[in-house]
C-alpha cells in the first residue's frame, strides 16, 4: 500500500468522520469547528487528486471566509439559537431524525449503486485521456496553465461570476442593514 493510498484513506476518513460529527453534534459551535476539519480534509483530497490550486483556494475561501461568516452569524443570532439546540435530544438516532436518515442513506445507497455499476474507471473518455497523455502527473505545474485557461477559455463564466459576486455583495449588505428607516 503506497503512501498515497494511505493518505487518501486518512483524508477520506477524516472528512467523512468529521462530517458525521457535524451531522450528529448538538453543539453548534463544535459542529462548526468540526466543519473546519472536513474542509481541511477535503483540501487534502484535492491535493491528492493533483489540484493544488483548488486546494489552496478551498482553504482560503472556506476556512478563511465562509467559516468566519458562519461564526459571526451564529454569534449575532444570540442565545435563542443555542436554546433551541439545547432542547434537542442527545441520542444519536432520534426518532424524529429517522426519516431524514433513511432518505440520506437511501440516497447514499443509490449513489453508490450507480457509481459501482457505472464502471466509471473504464469509461471511454477516461481511457482516451489516459492514452492521449491528458492526465495530470504529479510533476506537472498546473497553475500557469490554469490561469491562462481562466482568462481565455473560461473568460465569460469568470466575468459572469464576478458580476454575480458583486450582486451578492450588494444584496448581502442590503439585507444586513439596520431597519431603522424601513
Amino acid at each position: 500500500m503506497s503512501l498515497i493510498t494511505v493518505m487518501f484513506y486518512l483524508m477520506a476518513v477524516i472528512a467523512i468522520g468529521s462530517a458525521l460529527y457535524v451531522a450528529a453534534s448538538k453543539n453548534l459551535v463544535r459542529s462548526v469547528f468540526m466543519f473546519f476539519a472536513t474542509l481541511f480534509a477535503l483540501a487534502g483530497l484535492y491535493v491528492l487528486s493533483l489540484a493544488d490550486f483548488v486546494a489552496v483556494t478551498q482553504v482560503v475561501v472556506y476556512v478563511g471566509g465562509i467559516l468566519v461568516l458562519i461564526l459571526f452569524a451564529f454569534m449575532l443570532s444570540g442565545r435563542e439559537s443555542l436554546a433551541v439546540l439545547a432542547q434537542q435530544t442527545n441520542r444519536l438516532i432520534a426518532v424524529n431524525k429517522l426519516p431524514a436518515m433513511l432518505v440520506a442513506l437511501a440516497f447514499f445507497g443509490s449513489l453508490a449503486y450507480v457509481f459501482f455499476n457505472a464502471h466509471i474507471d473504464d469509461a471511454a473518455w477516461l481511457q482516451d485521456a489516459v492514452a492521449s497523455q491528458k492526465v495530470f502527473t504529479p510533476q506537472d505545474v498546473t497553475i500557469n496553465h490554469l490561469g491562462v485557461n481562466l482568462m481565455t477559455t473560461y473568460l465569460l463564466p469568470f466575468e459572469v461570476i464576478s458580476i454575480l459576486l458583486l450582486m451578492a455583495l450588494v444584496g448581502a449588505a442590503h439585507l444586513s442593514r439596520k431597519e431603522a428607516e424601513a
Binding site: P99, V103, A106, F107, S110, Y113
Partner: protein, 686 residues
C-alpha cells in the same frame, strides 16, 4: 201455550203467574219510585203479597192432590236444544207456593212497622223481589229456570242481609252468604249440566216424574246408562255431589252452614222470612224435586250429613248469647232434621217438618225482632253501649210483653216438639221413621236415630235457656243501671197481628185434627207414597213418649240452672264449652285456612303474572334491546367505522400531502428528495 198434560187449566196458570208476578211488579214499581215514598211502598208490597196469597190459595185448591201437570212455552233455542219456560204443578209446588206467600204476608205486615219509613222503599224493593224469586222458584218446571231463580233468591238474600250497608259486619256477612251460596250454585250448575248432557232435557217432569228419564236410567259396570246418552258412573255421583253442595249451601248444612249465623246481621224480619222459613227451605225443596236421582249410598250420605249438622248446630246453640244466633243455629239444626229425613226416605215427613218449621221459626224470629226492637229503643234512649241482641242483658220481659211472650212460648214448644203443637207432629214423624229406617239395617245405623234423639234433648235445653234468660228473672240491665226506665211493650198492631197469626199456625189444628198422630195430617198424606207402611210397630208409641219425657226433664233442668241458679251445667272454660261457643271453630278454620290460602295463592299468581310472565316478556324485550344495541354498536363502529376509516385514510393522506404544503421548507425538501429517490429506484428497477 203448549201443554204436556191434558189437565190444562188456564185459571191455575194465570193465578200462578199472578201470584209470582205481583211481587215483581211491586218490586219494580218501588225500584222506579223515588226513595221518599216511605210507607206507601210498604203497603204496595203488602198488597202485592196479599194478592199472591190469594192467588196461591186458588192454585192450591185446584192443584192439591190433582196429579202432576205442566205448561211450557219456548224460551229460546240454542243449537238443536229448545229451552222452555214453564210451570210445573204438583202437590209440592202448590204447597210451597202457598207456604211462601203465607209466611211472607205476616212478615210484610210486620216489616211496615219494623223498618224505618225512610228505608222502606229500598227494603220493600228487595223484599218483594225476594218473594218473586222464591215463588217463581217453587213453580218452574225446568232446571235452567230453577237455577236462575235459585240464584236470584240468593241474590235477594244478599241484598237483604246487607240492607244496612253502612254496617261493616252486615256487608261482610252478605258477601260471605253470597259466596258460600255461589259454591252451592256451581254445584247445582254442574249437576244441571250433567243431567242435561245425560238426558238432553231440562224438564223437571220429564226427568224426575213417574217413569221419567231418571227412573229409567241405571248404572251398570261403572257406566251410567240412560236412553239418550251414557257417561261414566262417577258423573252420576258428581251430579249428586253438586246437588248436595247446592242443598248444603242453601239450607246451611255442614260444611257450608257458616253463612247463616252471620246472615243474622240483616233486619230481623228478613231473617224470619228468608233465613228461617223460605230460602233455607229451598234446599230441601230442591231435594224433593230431584229425589229420584239419588241411590241408597247417596241418601245415606244425606242422612249422615243432616244428622251431624242437626247435632252440631244444636250444641253450638247451647252457648250462644246472641238471640238471633241461637235461633239461626236452631234453624240449621232443624234443617238438618229435614235433610236427614230426606236421607232416610222420610220424604213426606221432611216436607211436613219444613212447613211446620217455617211457621214456628219465623214466629220465633219475629218475636226476637220485637224484643230486639225494644231493647234497641232502650239503648238509643240511654245511649248505652250494648248489643241489643245479647240475651244476657235481658230478662223478666214476660210481664211487659205478654203477647210476645206467649207467641215465643208457642214457637218454642213447637220447636221442642211438645204435644198440641205442629212441631210435635212433624218432628216425631221424623224421629219415628228414623228408628224404623235403622231397624232394617246394621246396628251402627242406630247411631243416627239415637243422636237425633239426643239432639232433640239439646234443642229442649237451649230453647228453655232462651226463654228463661229473656222472659224470666229480672231485667239484667236494671241491675247495672238502676235508674233506667223501661217502656217496653208489644208494640203496635203491625207487630202483634203477625205474631198471633203465626202462633196460631204453629198449633196442631192447621195440620191435623188429631194432635198426636202425624199420619193423620193432610199434609203428610199428600206426599205419601202409595206403598207406605201403615202404623204397625212399637216406635210409634215409644218414641213420642220418650221424646216428650226427656224434653220436659231437660226443660226443668234448664229451669234449675237459669232460674234457681244451680250449678248443673259444665263450666265456661271447658273444652266442650269453648268448642260450642266458637261454633266448633269451623268459621275460624275457613277464614284462616281456606280464605287465606286462596288469597295467598291469588297474590302469588299475580306475582307470577307480573314477574314471570311479564318478566319473560321483558326479558324478550331486553334480549331484543340487547340485539338492537349490538347492531347499533356494529352499525356505529363497524359499518360507520369502516366509512370512518376510509375517510380517515383519505384525510390522513390529504393532511400528509397538505403537510408538504405547510410552508415548512424541510418538508418540501423531503418530498423533492423522495420523489427523486423514487424516480431513481424506478429507473434502477426497470
Amino acid at each position: 201455550m203448549t201443554s204436556t198434560s191434558p189437565h190444562i187449566d188456564t185459571v191455575v196458570v194465570t193465578c200462578t203467574l199472578l201470584a209470582a208476578g205481583l211481587p215483581l211488579v211491586a218490586s219494580a214499581v218501588n225500584f222506579l219510585l223515588p226513595a221518599k215514598t216511605g210507607k206507601a211502598s210498604g203497603w204496595l208490597s203488602v198488597l202485592a203479597i196479599l194478592g199472591s196469597l190469594a192467588f196461591a190459595g186458588i192454585v192450591f185448591n185446584k192443584v192439591w192432590n190433582a196429579g202432576e201437570w205442566s205448561v211450557q212455552q219456548e224460551w229460546f233455542t240454542i243449537g238443536n236444544t229448545k229451552v222452555y219456560g214453564g210451570l210445573l204443578f204438583n202437590n209440592l209446588s202448590a204447597l210451597m207456593l202457598l207456604l211462601v206467600s203465607a209466611i211472607a204476608l205476616p212478615v210484610h205486615i210486620y216489616s211496615t212497622a219494623y223498618i224505618k219509613p225512610a228505608e222502606q222503599n229500598r227494603y220493600f224493593t228487595y223484599l218483594s223481589f225476594f218473594c218473586f224469586s222464591m215463588l217463581a222458584l217453587v213453580v218452574v218446571n225446568n232446571l235452567v229456570m230453577l237455577y236462575a231463580f235459585w240464584e236470584l233468591v240468593g241474590f235477594s238474600s244478599y241484598l237483604l242481609i246487607g240492607f244496612w250497608f253502612t254496617r261493616d259486619n252486615a256487608v261482610k256477612a252478605n258477601k260471605k252468604a253470597f259466596i258460600i251460596n255461589r259454591i252451592g250454585d256451581i254445584g247445582l250448575l254442574s249437576a244441571i249440566i250433567i243431567l242435561f248432557v245425560q238426558y238432553h232435557t231440562f224438564d223437571l217432569a220429564a226427568l224426575f216424574g213417574h217413569n221419567g228419564l231418571v227412573f229409567n236410567s241405571s248404572i251398570h259396570d261403572g257406566v251410567w246408562v240412560a236412553a239418550t246418552n251414557q257417561l261414566p258412573s262417577v258423573w252420576q255421583f258428581t251430579a249428586f255431589a253438586g246437588i248436595f253442595l247446592a242443598v248444603a249451601a242453601k239450607s246451611a248444612q255442614f260444611p257450608l252452614h257458616t253463612w247463616l249465623p252471620d246472615a243474622m246481621e240483616g233486619p230481623t224480619s228478613v231473617s224470619a222470612l228468608i233465613h228461617a222459613a223460605t230460602m233455607v227451605a229451598a234446599g230441601v225443596f230442591l231435594l224433593c224435586r230431584v229425589y229420584p236421582l239419588f241411590n241408597t249410598t247417596e241418601l245415606d250420605i244425606l242422612a249422615i250429613v243432616g244428622c251431624f249438622t242437626a247435632f252440631m248446630a244444636a250444641t253450638i246453640a247451647l252457648t250462644q248469647n246472641d238471640l238471633k244466633r241461637i235461633l239461626a243455629y236452631s234453624t240449621i239444626s232443624q234443617l238438618g232434621y229435614m235433610i236427614m229425613a230426606m236421607g232416610i226416605d222420610a220424604y213426606a215427613s221432611s216436607l211436613f217438618h219444613l212447613v211446620t218449621h217455617a211457621f214456628f221459626k219465623s214466629l220465633l224470629f219475629l218475636c226476637a225482632g220485637v224484643i230486639i226492637h225494644e231493647v234497641q229503643h232502650i239503648k238509643d234512649e240511654h245511649q248505652l253501649d250494648i248489643d241489643p241482641q245479647n240475651i244476657l242483658y235481658m230478662g223478666g220481659l214476660r210481664k211487659k210483653m205478654p203477647v210476645t211472650f206467649i207467641a215465643t212460648v208457642v214457637g218454642c214448644l213447637a220447636l221442642v216438639g211438645l204435644p198440641l203443637t205442629s212441631g210435635y207432629l212433624s218432628k216425631d214423624s221424623i224421629l219415628i221413621q228414623a228408628f224404623e229406617w235403622a231397624e232394617a239395617k246394621a246396628w251402627y245405623y242406630k247411631i243416627l236415630p239415637v243422636s237425633i234423639l239426643l239432639t232433640s234433648g239439646l234443642t229442649a235445653f237451649y230453647v228453655a235457656r232462651l226463654i228463661f234468660k229473656v222472659f224470666f228473672g229480672e231485667f239484667k240491665l236494671k241491675e247495672i243501671l238502676p235508674d233506667i226506665n223501661l217502656h217496653v211493650s208489644d208494640g203496635s198492631l203491625a207487630y202483634r197481628l203477625p205474631l198471633i197469626l203465626l202462633a196460631l199456625c204453629s198449633l196442631f189444628p192447621l195440620f191435623s185434627l188429631n194432635p198426636f198422630l202425624y199420619e193423620h195430617a193432610w199434609l203428610f198424606k199428600g206426599f205419601l207414597p202409595v206403598d207406605h207402611l201403615a202404623r204397625e210397630n212399637v216406635y210409634h208409641t215409644i218414641v213420642p213418649a220418650v221424646v216428650n219425657i226427656m224434653s220436659v226433664f231437660v226443660v226443668y233442668w234448664a229451669y234449675a240452672v237459669y232460674i234457681q241458679q244451680r250449678k248443673l251445667v259444665f263450666t265456661q272454660n271447658s273444652f266442650l264449652f269453648r268448642l260450642s261457643y266458637h261454633h266448633w271453630y269451623i268459621d275460624t278454620f275457613y277464614q284462616q285456612v281456606i280464605v287465606k290460602a286462596v288469597m295467598a295463592f291469588s297474590r302469588a299468581l299475580f306475582w307470577f303474572d307480573r314477574q314471570v310472565i311479564d318478566g319473560l316478556i321483558h326479558s324478550f324485550t331486553s334480549a331484543g334491546k340487547f340485539l338492537a344495541g349490538l347492531s347499533a354498536w356494529a352499525d356505529r363502529y363497524l359499518v360507520d367505522g369502516f366509512l370512518l376509516l376510509i375517510t380517515q385514510v383519505v384525510k390522513g393522506i390529504g393532511s400528509f400531502f397538505r403537510s408538504f404544503q405547510g410552508g415548512k421548507v424541510q418538508y418540501y425538501l423531503y418530498s423533492m428528495l423522495i420523489l427523486i429517490l423514487t424516480l431513481f429506484i424506478i429507473k434502477i428497477l426497470i
